[in-house]
């Protein structure tokens, strides 16, 4: 510990600019921390109005303020707090991605069981703290801050996964994520310690200069301590980014977690993990690129194949998107592997694209789950094109974009990734990416075919509801019903079928609705719109990505 502080102190003495804490650069993080704490306190109030309306609104406001501060600090790169954090354009862009994902999650969480069960203040507060952790994670310039970030982002997510406390699947998902996430964190901590041992520094720039000095690389393979350290760090990050072969938790956790949280994990956590891949490997470890690039390229290949093949047989949409996310992480790793400006830009561009297209898809799943109990099922999408064309269109756009069809942002993202790979002499990885995309058609098209080309199947009547219906054979599937005394039972247009005596104990306290919540539909439309808009006019995204790329070039 003493050694670490001395190293940090050394770094601080090298840094001659600015006071120890540059509050304006730190402001996005401060906003998140303050917002989270206020939310926790406000959530304690007894008023229903405050808990159900004001708390989510405050959460959105916090994210909005954070985005505003990010825009304000844009183009003002600064290393702050004795070089522990670096708030540059890459970090700020990623912070904005997290915040946008956060806003979408808040909107998707209305009328979902999770916040009602675990407390509104806690649910949204944890969400904000997780975003704060991600912001620290991707801004970290120091091994210690890095570890702080990963823990701060993970612990709230473990809880959020289990926040639907009355559903077994949710609890299981939280526990699974906790156990496997802890293994990942422990591996990472060990790897960080070994790197510190090999280089004698915790600061990224100090590590980078030690590596590029080359004196550590003895023998044929190089310093075994460093190599093991790098390997363990890759494994630790790979757990977070759900990169194969460390992805096994992904489909289970995604399936069990409340869908808005799944959407958040799929987009924001993935962005954080890949952002830190960029930060760590393309900045701190760039001197040893010839050592880690083949390792990462091999992992990316495995990830692309495993993710795409795994998704083929899935009948649950969330599991399918989980596997698809594994494959997409493999694509994005390609941008890290090449270790060039172009690679960084391509990864950042793809992260933004991935945010748009994935949230659009998840919003449709949330909407489906509000309307029918089997909403997560691919088969339940049958006939959606006729039933609800708007949702069907957004899901179609999301799937086409994930598959990389022109006219969507996914095409632009893949284009730039292949460009970076060919440019960085990794043409074979570009071919792997292309082959992966071909396999992915198998499952993306299945979803589209279900929506537009298959006749609708009726939603199954929940077993409990059928029993409580007094033997009525044609019991309406929308019955649902809520336990007495729950505040939601008087809410909105829910539970038209729950008459006196037919209030069954369904697993979810929220009744299935006749129509999806307009907020959810709005989210899906906005993000699908963005998917198409940036697919046709991608220049703003390229500008953004080039800012991120230049942020890192300033260091090496």
């Amino acid at each position: 510990m003493i050694a670490i502080t001395t190293a940090a102190h050394d770094a601080a003495t090298h840094q001659l600019t600015g006071p120890p804490i540059d509050w304006s650069s730190l402001s996005p993080l401060v906003a998140l921390a303050a917002g989270g704490m206020v939310l926790l306190l406000v959530g304690l109030l007894r008023s229903e109005l405050v808990r159900e309306r004001i708390v989510p609104a405050l959460a959105i406001a916090t994210f909005g303020v954070t985005i505003g501060l990010c825009i304000w600090r844009f183009d003002h790169p600064a290393s702050i707090i004795s070089g522990a954090l670096r708030i540059d354009d890459l970090a700020l862009i990623l912070d904005m991605i997290f915040s946008v994902a956060g806003i979408a999650t808040v909107l998707l969480s209305w009328r979902v069981a999770a916040p009602a069960e675990s407390g509104q203040g806690e649910y949204f507060g944890l969400l904000i703290f997780s975003v704060l952790g991600m912001a620290v994670f991707v801004s970290a310039q120091n091994l210690v801050t890095l570890f702080l970030g990963i823990e701060l982002l993970s612990v709230p997510l473990y809880i959020l996964c289990a926040s639907e406390t009355r559903r077994e699947g949710s609890l299981e998902s939280g526990l699974k994520y906790l156990v496997i996430g802890s293994v990942g964190s422990a591996t990472l901590a060990y790897g960080l310690a070994l790197i510190y041992g090999a280089t004698g520094a915790t600061d990224f720039s100090a590590i980078a200069s030690a590596l590029s000095a080359g004196k550590l690389l003895g023998g044929v393979l190089g310093d075994p301590l460093l190599l093991t350290g790098l390997g363990l760090v890759i494994v630790g990050f790979a757990f977070k980014a759900s990169v194969a072969p460390f992805h096994q938790w992904t489909p289970d956790v995604y399936e069990g977690a409340p869908t808005p949280i799944t959407a958040f994990m799929a987009t924001a956590t993935k962005a954080a993990a890949l952002g830190v891949f960029l930060r760590f490997f393309d900045v701190a470890a760039i001197g040893a690129q010839d050592k880690w690039a083949p390792m990462l390229a091999a992992i990316a290949t495995i990830t692309i194949i495993v993710g795409n093949v795994g998704a083929l047989g899935q009948s649950s949409l969330k599991r399918m998107l989980g596997y698809s996310g594994v494959a997409q992480a493999g694509y994005m790793l390609g941008g890290v592997v090449v270790g060039t400006q172009l690679g960084i830009q391509a990864t950042v561009l793809y992260l933004v694209a991935y945010l748009f297209m994935n949230i659009a898809g998840f919003a449709v799943i949330v909407a489906q789950q509000q309307v029918r109990p089997d909403g997560d099922d691919v088969a339940a999408l049958a006939g959606l094109g006729a039933r609800n064309p708007w949702l069907a269109w957004t899901m179609t756009i999301s799937m086409l974009s994930l598959a990389g069809i022109p006219g969507t942002v996914g095409f632009i993202g893949k284009f730039q990734l292949i460009h970076a790979l060919v440019d960085g002499n990794y043409t074979w990885l570009a071919i792997v990416l292309v082959v992966g995309s071909m396999i992915s058609l198998g499952y993306y098209l299945r979803v589209i075919a279900a929506m537009w080309m298959r006749a609708a199947v009726p939603a199954p009547v929940p077993a409990a509801a059928a029993g409580g219906g007094g033997g009525e054979p044609a019991f309406p599937p929308i019955s649902g019903g809520a336990p007495e005394g729950d505040p939601e039972s008087s809410f909105g247009n829910g539970a038209p079928g729950s008459g006196p005596g037919s209030a069954p104990a369904t697993p979810s306290p929220i009744a299935t609705l006749r129509f999806a919540h307009p907020g959810v539909v709005l989210v899906s439309l906005v993000f699908a719109g963005a998917t198409v808009f940036f697919g046709i006019f991608p220049s703003p995204l390229f500008d953004l990505a080039s800012h991120a790329g230049h942020a890192i070039s300033g260091i090496f």
Partner: protein, 516 residues
């Protein structure tokens, strides 16, 4: 009036129709709109200046500056006639559709409009990335049109269609990006995807070879030619008639056009290197497809497989690497587009008179009370089998002329394919229109709406028959510059003889089995 208007008008019309027009009028609205598009396309044809090899009506805007991708559109001798053909066939199909009822009509016409825009865009694009984008986009509306309005095993058929073609397209995407990146890195210039700039930056031989193969797979799947045709039978069988007419009529042509627009000028070395391979693929396709067309009794499949054979001829012409062959291929693309679309519409008319069956065995005697239908069909059939005096005769003649000059043996063998075409075309005409009447056949004259669709196409076929220069004059200058790099290389390179032995064995095998 820029090309952008021409390209995006169909999509705009169908969007407006889908959102605003009353349900009953959507079809008519879109059909009339497509006639406007056709008018604009013809206006470009009229204003097209002859004798220029370069691009005309150029629109050039930066689309993605970071990648050097331009939104560049332009017409030259290669695509001006194909653009008009596209507009014509889409109008015909939309008029045909407008007289019929479609479930979820708004969505149907939206996809039709999107398809027309994408096809026109692919023909006009003068930037490699833009071409790839339009080429892939083109597929999406057809995926939905087959899957939602098709018949029989429609979902399976459409999934197969899309996966086959997108697999090719993804290879092409990687190859296209590699073309831009490698051209810029090998010459030390900033990255660009504009075709005219890429022509000035030839790639090294090794790069050309694998890139050529990726492009070839994409185009051969789309046409399709023989080893890549697995999707065709199911796909064509499931497509609604107006969809199959445009798909076979123009979408398949985009692939053949891609060879002329992109592959020959950009990868001349690889084109010469793989010339024999491509010619053999074309040859095998001609004979294999002809053999299947002989044996099948399904009228729609006869037309479908004959189109594989025709695309085989077109590929033959392109890879003769001679201006004559290229000219013939281009002319044949137009002819085949017209003939195959007309033939598909006629199949639908025939099926309507044979109790809904498209089986030739259920037809027969349909000409009895339908002299106008019979005359239309006979003109189409004669053009189809490349009767001397028909435009197809001139097209195939020029293709074979070009092939004779480059690979004599292959031309000799391919000649047998021309003769074989007359068998299946005439067989289809005779068994459906003459012979003993089928059990459920009710001979009726063609109705006015169907006549209004088929007759204009037949008129255009006749115009081409009497005045083939109409198509040839515009393309001559451009084709010479297109084929020139490869032609020069081919003339220089030895080893042309090596192909003859392989070609000879192919003749003994395929020609012997498929002869009448």
């Amino acid at each position: 009036m820029t090309l952008s208007i021409l390209i995006w008008l169909p999509l705009a019309i169908s969007l407006v129709a889908a959102l605003l027009a009353p349900r009953a009028l959507v079809g008519r609205f879109v059909a009339i709109g497509s006639l406007v598009t056709l008018g604009i396309a013809i206006s470009f044809l009229v204003r097209f200046k002859l004798g220029h090899a370069g691009l005309q009506f150029v629109t050039d805007k930066v689309w993605i500056s970071a990648l050097g991708i331009h939104y560049k559109l332009g017409l030259d001798g290669l695509n001006v006639a194909l653009v008009v053909l596209t507009a014509l066939l889409f109008s015909a199909s939309l008029v045909w559709s407008a007289f019929r009822e479609w479930e979820r009509a708004r969505v149907f016409y939206f996809f039709f409009g999107l398809a027309e825009s994408a096809v026109l865009g692919a023909f006009c694009a003068q930037d490699l990335a833009l071409f790839v984008a339009f080429f892939d986009l083109m597929l999406i509306p057809f995926y939905f049109m087959v899957g939602m309005w098709g018949t029989g095993e429609r979902v399976r058929a459409t999934t197969k269609l899309v996966i086959y073609t997108l697999v090719g397209s993804f290879f092409m995407l990687a190859a296209a990006i590699a073309t831009g990146v490698l051209a810029s890195s090998q010459h030390g210039t900033p990255i660009t995807f504009v075709l005219s700039s890429l022509r000035a930056l030839p790639l090294s031989r090794d790069s050309q070879e694998w890139i050529f193969l990726c492009f070839a797979v994409a185009f051969l799947v789309k046409m399709p030619l023989v080893p890549f045709h697995g999707w065709l039978a199911d796909g064509y069988k499931a497509m609604p008639i107006p969809v199959v007419a445009v798909f076979s009529g123009v979408v398949a042509k985009v692939a053949a056009y891609g060879f002329l627009r992109i592959v020959l000028p950009l990868f001349p070395y690889a084109s010469v290197h793989f010339q024999t391979l491509m010619l053999l693929i074309a040859l095998v396709s001609i004979f294999w497809a002809t053999a299947v067309a002989f044996t099948t009794s399904d009228a729609r499949m006869v037309v479908a497989y004959s189109s594989i054979a025709q695309l085989g001829f077109i590929t033959l012409g392109i890879f003769s690497l001679r201006p004559e062959g290229g000219q013939g291929a281009l002319l044949q693309m137009l002819n085949h587009g017209l003939v195959t679309a007309a033939a598909f519409f006629i199949v639908a008319v025939l099926a309507g008179r044979a109790g809904g069956s498209e089986d030739l065995r259920d037809m027969g005697g349909i000409a009895f009370r339908a002299p106008v239908l019979a005359s239309l069909f006979v003109i189409v059939a004669f053009a189809w089998l490349a009767m001397p005096g028909s435009p197809n005769f001139i097209g195939e003649f020029m293709i074979l002329l070009g092939t004779f000059q480059s690979k004599l043996a292959i031309a000799v063998i391919a000649f047998a394919g021309v003769i074989a075409a007359s068998y299946y075309a005439l067989r289809m005409y005779i068994t459906s229109m003459h012979n003993r009447a089928g059990r459920e056949v009710a001979s009726r004259e063609i109705v006015v709406p169907d006549f209004a669709v088929i007759a204009p196409i037949v008129v255009v076929i006749l115009v081409f028959a009497f005045y083939p220069q109409f198509g040839l004059r515009r393309s001559e200058a451009t084709l010479k510059t297109t084929v020139a790099p490869a032609q020069v290389l081919a003339a220089r390179g030895p080893g042309a003889r090596a192909a003859i032995g392989a070609g000879g064995t192919a003749y003994a095998r395929v020609g012997g089995g498929g002869g009448p």
